[in-house]
Symmetry: C2
Subunit: 389 residues, 2 copies
Amino acid sequence: MPDSLPAHSVGITEPQQMQFEEPLELACGRVLPHYELTVETYGELNRTASNAVLICHALSGNHHAAGYHSPDDRKPGWWDAYIGPGKPIDTNRFFVVCPNNLGGCHGSTGPCSINPDTGQPWGRDFPPLRARDWVHSQARLAAKLGIGQWAAVIGGSLGGMNAMRWALEYPDRLRHCVVIASALKLSAQNIAFNEIARRAIKSDPDFCEGDYLARGKIPRQGLALARMIGHVTYLSDELMGTRFGRELRRGTFERGRDTPIEFQVESYLRYQGDSFSDHFDANTYLLMTKILDYFDLAREYGDDPVAAFRHALCKFLVVSFSSDWRFSPVRSEEIVNALVGANREVAYAAIDSEFGHDAFLLPNHRYESVFRAYMNKVAAEADQLARAE
Amino acid sequence: MPDSLPAHSVGITEPQQMQFEEPLELACGRVLPHYELTVETYGELNRTASNAVLICHALSGNHHAAGYHSPDDRKPGWWDAYIGPGKPIDTNRFFVVCPNNLGGCHGSTGPCSINPDTGQPWGRDFPPLRARDWVHSQARLAAKLGIGQWAAVIGGSLGGMNAMRWALEYPDRLRHCVVIASALKLSAQNIAFNEIARRAIKSDPDFCEGDYLARGKIPRQGLALARMIGHVTYLSDELMGTRFGRELRRGTFERGRDTPIEFQVESYLRYQGDSFSDHFDANTYLLMTKILDYFDLAREYGDDPVAAFRHALCKFLVVSFSSDWRFSPVRSEEIVNALVGANREVAYAAIDSEFGHDAFLLPNHRYESVFRAYMNKVAAEADQLARAE
């Protein structure tokens, strides 16, 4: 954390560990007898619980969306640019709830947790999940917090898929759904990149067919490679050109067999990969990318997204970023078109940005303005509901 | 090979092994005391040697560009669609020369060859190469074949870089330069994908820090991953969508922990990766991708491509493909603009194709027409020169 608390920060935050003892039936047919979620909340729930907002994190995210865990923290939570007092998701007005997803590796029940049947970490035996499993686990979280209806469910990327699934699974339990840089389903190219990342993890000998925890190993190389693959696809070609160009980090261009020569982009990627492998679990990465791959909003509605969205009751904000080629604006437009076709109220903002898929996490004036204006309306509605009661 | 020889095939071809005993000074400052090139040729050299065409192969290519090696061959050479009697590179009119590049793993001197100093395979000790080293080795090949001036030097992708370097290194030894789906230099994103592929190879324990041959191992997993990464980037998102969609290869969508479930695109990629690792050398892959990364046509000309092309004397055909995002049409337009700026004669064809970077290898009516028309002119010129002498 900087020496003094930055303005508009939620400050020091503390995750809570929440227990859910009722068995959860999963989409795969298996049952989790009980589970835990690690959750951060910011702001205060109002008297009528009309101001609660659910934040759904993306592939490599977690419950720590805003603020700092300690005064020594160098970086705030992953969405600190957009969550805090006076920010678009204004913690002076909203009660913000961000859980680590089921299957995650930051405290919630997942492959690193102990399997009660064996007394060993679940590892590769953790049940496969679908986005709807997250929704059901989050619905119980809402109940436990006394939230009958979310003012909004908000997510970017995989989190946007989670948010859309909310709108179909519990249509009357959210008033707004904010879907940022997401898609109705992945393209074959996206699935291909995920498959390569998974293969990188699985072919690391330290993966031990998923039993690395029990054997005291970590498939670091595989995880680092998986992250590098992901990372390249989250940045735009233009941005990489601007940021790294073809600058050499050291060494000369032409000569020298013995001086290692590399481009800046190479050392940057290596750093990203290596630091990721220090704090992310390989089985969780496999699990999460499979949830991405299998997400298909309209599948059970005859493959018709319009038919799917006819089940939704909330209003929608959809946001895309011009240089995002992993979840391109075309994918967001498919969501918007389906919502329009289903006669649902939708606002759409196509934001110019050079930051690729990562743009949804980064400061951007126009994105912030649109997001703030929309959330102001959501907050005003929440206030009105509180007064009406 | 099909039961009967297909029409317009060059038929059964046989590679030749050619020895070059004069030392070759390399761009890195080291010297290869002697080297071999494996070469295929198709058609006949005319009396005045005015009809010779050099084919420069791409990253994973080799000398076998057309025809079949035996009646049992299932597939012809990699550019059989464009080389043969009556095809754009018409073997009734041209003498076509296609060497396996220096550093390759299909017969030419490279990391799999024996290092005369040690009696062991070169492996990781093989000198790093630049595209100009290929040009110099190919110039000696031309001399040995009695070819004073190529009618055309032709290449796609990395082969296009090789061809452009020819135009600058030996301006008076080629009349035409055909540059297909190529670039003046790679983008940072391209370098990043190559770096990930290299890391995949190097982190395979069977890589043995490059000494796998001496230890009787092959880094199959790493090579397969490297190829999968490359392959995804050579195909377009649209094409992958059309070809694979999200079709499942087996298993059910929703349920079943024990039935392995996968998308068709996954098994396709695995097949591509695994079969590549059976017939390509890992050190060669590292070497070739470094040549790609370091290629920068204009670097020694004050980073000014116009200044660079002022040294060229030949005429150019440049071709790009609309869905190629690894070497996008913008990159080809940079080549064209620099040629125009340098007052060089250039024809440019931007071809509509859904096949991504791989389009340069595949049948396409418009591409074939443009290519054929251009090569007809080149052949007519060669005939004229033969008559004039």
